[in-house]
């Protein structure tokens, strides 16, 4: 429980600092200063500057906006995609169910990171492409989760009773079955968001994610690798932000999972 709260507070801090960055730190993350490249930590630049003399702190904050947006929208997409198709498969059944299950099994049989890597490489890097690739790669878990929940719920007594009372199937799905598995899907969602944050950063690090000069945590870190020994704060600082964000999701997921387990 304390973990959930700690995670939530940590997330709030990271989120607020990136969203309020233009007010908190009104330094343009794209503004170069060729006379002060690779500057170390100072009052003016708390995390120093990069090789074009840009302020690393404002790049980290601006990068956070981009990375968080990508990770959260990809999480939403993957839940919607897997959840919706899983519910459809369970409700409709028959050939549709078989076909969808086969498809997601095949997807699951593929090493996840390689899948995302190949998809992004083929679509060409970019924020939208990354969201799409992550959304597809993450969906099998939610498909399975949604499908099995929906199936067991459909068989349960109150749904049978409702059908006997003349309710249509899809309506039953939405009315009765859905709210019950939203909780577990959200737990899973928090840990997916943590993973996506890391995967997005890895893709950008490999040069396949968000293209420069738009900063994202991944590409800010990727740039910093080239001058790691010269200006280590350009790597350490943004990485701490990324780790904190991912950690906050992870804490929320773990805490909530324990809570759910204890309840059942």
């Amino acid at each position: 429980m304390t973990r959930v709260r700690f995670g939530a507070v940590l997330f709030a801090i990271v989120l607020l600092s990136t969203v309020l960055a233009p007010i908190l730190r009104p330094v343009d993350p794209l503004e170069p200063n060729y006379r002060s490249t690779y500057a170390g930590v100072s009052a003016e630049h708390p995390l120093g500057t990069d090789r074009l003399g840009r302020d690393v702190l404002s790049r980290a904050l601006a990068g956070g906006r981009v990375s968080l947006t990508i990770a959260l929208s990809a999480t939403a997409l993957t839940i919607l995609l897997g959840g919706a198709l899983g519910s459809v498969a369970a409700t409709v059944g028959g050939a549709v169910d078989t076909a969808l299950s086969r498809f997601f099994d095949a997807l699951l049989a593929f090493p996840g990171f390689l899948l995302v890597l190949l998809v992004v490489a083929m679509l060409g890097g970019g924020a939208a492409q990354t969201v799409l690739a992550l959304g597809v790669a993450g969906s099998p878990i939610y498909f399975r989760l949604a499908r099995s929940y929906a199936r067991s719920e459909l068989r349960s007594e109150y749904v049978t009773a409702a059908i006997a009372l003349g309710a249509s199937r899809p309506r039953q799905m939405i009315r009765h079955a859905l709210p019950n598995f939203v909780g577990s899907i959200l737990v899973q969602g928090a840990s997916t968001a943590a993973t996506f944050l890391l995967v997005e950063a890895s893709l950008s690090y490999l040069g396949l994610g968000v293209p420069l000069p738009t900063p994202s945590w991944g590409n800010v870190l990727q740039e910093s690798r080239a001058f790691l020994t010269r200006q280590p704060w350009a790597a350490v600082g943004p990485g701490l932000f990324l780790a904190a964000a991912s950690l906050s999701f992870q804490f929320v997921a773990d805490g909530m999972r324990d809570k759910l387990d204890r309840r059942s």
Binding site: P32, R51, L52, G124, L212, P213, A226, T229, R230
Partner: protein, 503 residues
């Protein structure tokens, strides 16, 4: 202080230990090895099927050419101890020296014939084929003499034969379809031992080298893309020479007495190409304005670690660069005036930058910033190298601005041909008068007349400004102070270990 001292002594202890282990392992203390770190990696070591500078930088030690470039940039005899050009300039006669291939066979005229025929064979699919297109026949008149006949005068041919792609291969191996790409065999100062891709190439000194055996026993070339890691390796002694030094590290190296920083002009002409096909960019005044808007010296210093600005499409150190052509001055006001004159306002451009070329991407971001100072906005789009080649440089020329370096050419035809005909060049520059000059220049055999032709061409390239001319970056490399005799071939930028040794 105390702490620093202690960690230092612990490190030196670890070093001594490591050195002892390595020493025992190698068993020999006398064998001298030069370890070099280079950023790029060859795609193949077959000199006839690649156009990558990195391939020729490595293959320079393995193969020899008929003629070669010396330290002053002059073309001097190599495997051909002399050559004559016929009166009508339609044939060249080469007289070969005595040399031995690494497989033990002796060099003879047949090797040269087979090498050139392999180059001309469409099966080989050499990207440099057009440079040899004028050749109509290659004949061995005796064991040591080769006659190359041409369909038209080709003064640039000697430059091609002096370049890495003019390397001479053994005829027996050519006939048997040997895999030169992975198992290169030449007459060079070092014989190929092993290539571990993405890791290292190992070369052993060739005792029978025709110019005398090299002074070290072994050369190991490591592929290290990261300049910080290269420097780290140089300071810890892992590397003896490194080919990439970031501008921020130059002072560190200069202040270290054990290291030496070497600064030579490279053979690159760095430019930001302007797509003149675009209506907004068709006016030369707009393009000249761009040239005035960019502080090219700062771009060179920050993105490329220093260099010399240029005012036309020729590298700074080239003998073909006319003294009369000055770089565009950094003058944002003049740029604004020119833009106003041309009636260009509110320009919004697409700037395509090639990955993984960090320097060009950096330069592009700087140019974007400079252009915004004169009210021109540019949106950066990073494209993969393959996409850049097929869609920006070739294909539909899908870009407004792009940044790239053109590699050094010993002869101006290699650099300039095609730049007067819209369909043949990526900025889409079109100038019929210049096209006629280029046509005559490629066949003109009188040196002074030829020089005048290319001066005219380069002046036109300056005035028409299909590029924002950035400059020629310095090729900065660093080495241990004790390593002497290592040098980088002017214009071709290849590595020469023949006289390298430790003092």
């Amino acid at each position: 202080m105390e702490l620093a001292k202690r960690s230092l002594s612990r490190r030196s202890l670890a070093f001594a230990l490591a050195a002892a282990i390595v020493g025992t392992l190698l068993g020999t203390a006398s064998a001298q090895t030069i370890t070099m770190a280079m950023a790029a990696q060859p795609d193949t070591l077959d000199p006839q099927v690649t156009s990558a500078t990195a391939a020729f930088q490595v293959s320079k030690s393995i193969y020899d050419t008929l003629v070669e470039v010396d330290r002053n940039g002059d073309i001097v005899p190599a495997l051909a101890q002399s050559y004559e050009v016929a009166e009508d300039s339609l044939s060249y006669t080469f007289h070969l020296t005595e040399a031995t291939f690494h497989d033990g066979t002796a060099l003879d005229a047949q090797d040269v014939v087979a090498t050139l025929q392999r180059m001309l064979d469409p099966e080989t699919a050499s990207p440099k084929l057009s440079e040899f297109a004028a050749i109509t026949g290659v004949e061995a008149t005796d064991d040591r003499t080769v006659v190359v006949s041409l369909s038209q005068p080709a003064p640039a041919l000697i430059a091609s034969l002096a370049s890495g792609w003019g390397a001479i291969l053994p005829s027996e191996k050519i006939e048997s379809g040997h895999d030169f790409g992975n198992q290169p065999v030449g007459t060079g100062p070092f014989a190929f031992v092993e290539w571990q891709r993405d890791n290292s190439v190992t070369l052993n000194a060739f005792a029978d080298y025709y110019q005398g055996a090299p002074q070290v026993d072994q050369v190991v070339i490591r592929f290290v893309p990261d300049s910080a890691v290269q420097l780290q390796g140089l300071t810890t002694g892992e590397f003896d020479v490194i080919d990439t030094v970031a501008s921020a590290d130059q002072a560190t190296i200069e202040s270290n007495a054990d290291l030496a920083l070497v600064r030579d002009p490279s053979g690159l002409a760095l430019v930001a190409a302007i797509n003149t096909r675009r209506e907004a960019l068709a006016d030369p005044r707009v393009r000249q304005a761009f040239n005035h808007a960019v502080d090219s010296q700062t771009v060179l210093d920050v993105a490329y670690g220093g260099g010399t600005p240029i005012g036309t499409f020729m590298e700074a150190g080239s003998p073909w660069m006319p003294d009369s052509i000055e770089p565009f001055a950094y003058d944002p006001e003049r740029a604004q005036e020119l833009l106003n004159e041309a009636g260009a306002s509110g320009l919004s451009l697409d700037m395509a930058l090639p990955q993984p070329y960090e320097n060009h991407i950096q330069a592009g971001q700087m140019i974007q910033d400079y252009l915004s100072d004169v009210g021109v906005s540019a949106e950066i789009r990073i494209v993969e190298w393959g996409v850049w080649l097929s869609d920006v440089y070739g294909g539909a020329h899908d870009y407004d601005l792009t940044v790239i370096g053109h590699t050094g050419k010993l002869d101006p035809t290699g650099r300039l041909d095609g730049y007067a005909t819209e369909a043949d060049n990526y900025p889409g520059f079109d100038d019929p008068e210049m096209a006629a000059w280029l046509e005559s220049g490629s066949q003109e055999t009188d040196p002074d007349a030829r020089r005048q032709v290319y001066t005219n061409v380069l002046q036109r390239m300056h005035d028409g400004a299909p590029f924002i001319y950035i400059g020629t970056p310095d090729r900065v490399h660093a080495r241990k102070a004790s390593l002497e005799g290592f040098w980088i071939t002017p214009m071709l930028d290849s590595f020469d270990f023949r006289t390298a040794h430790f003092e």
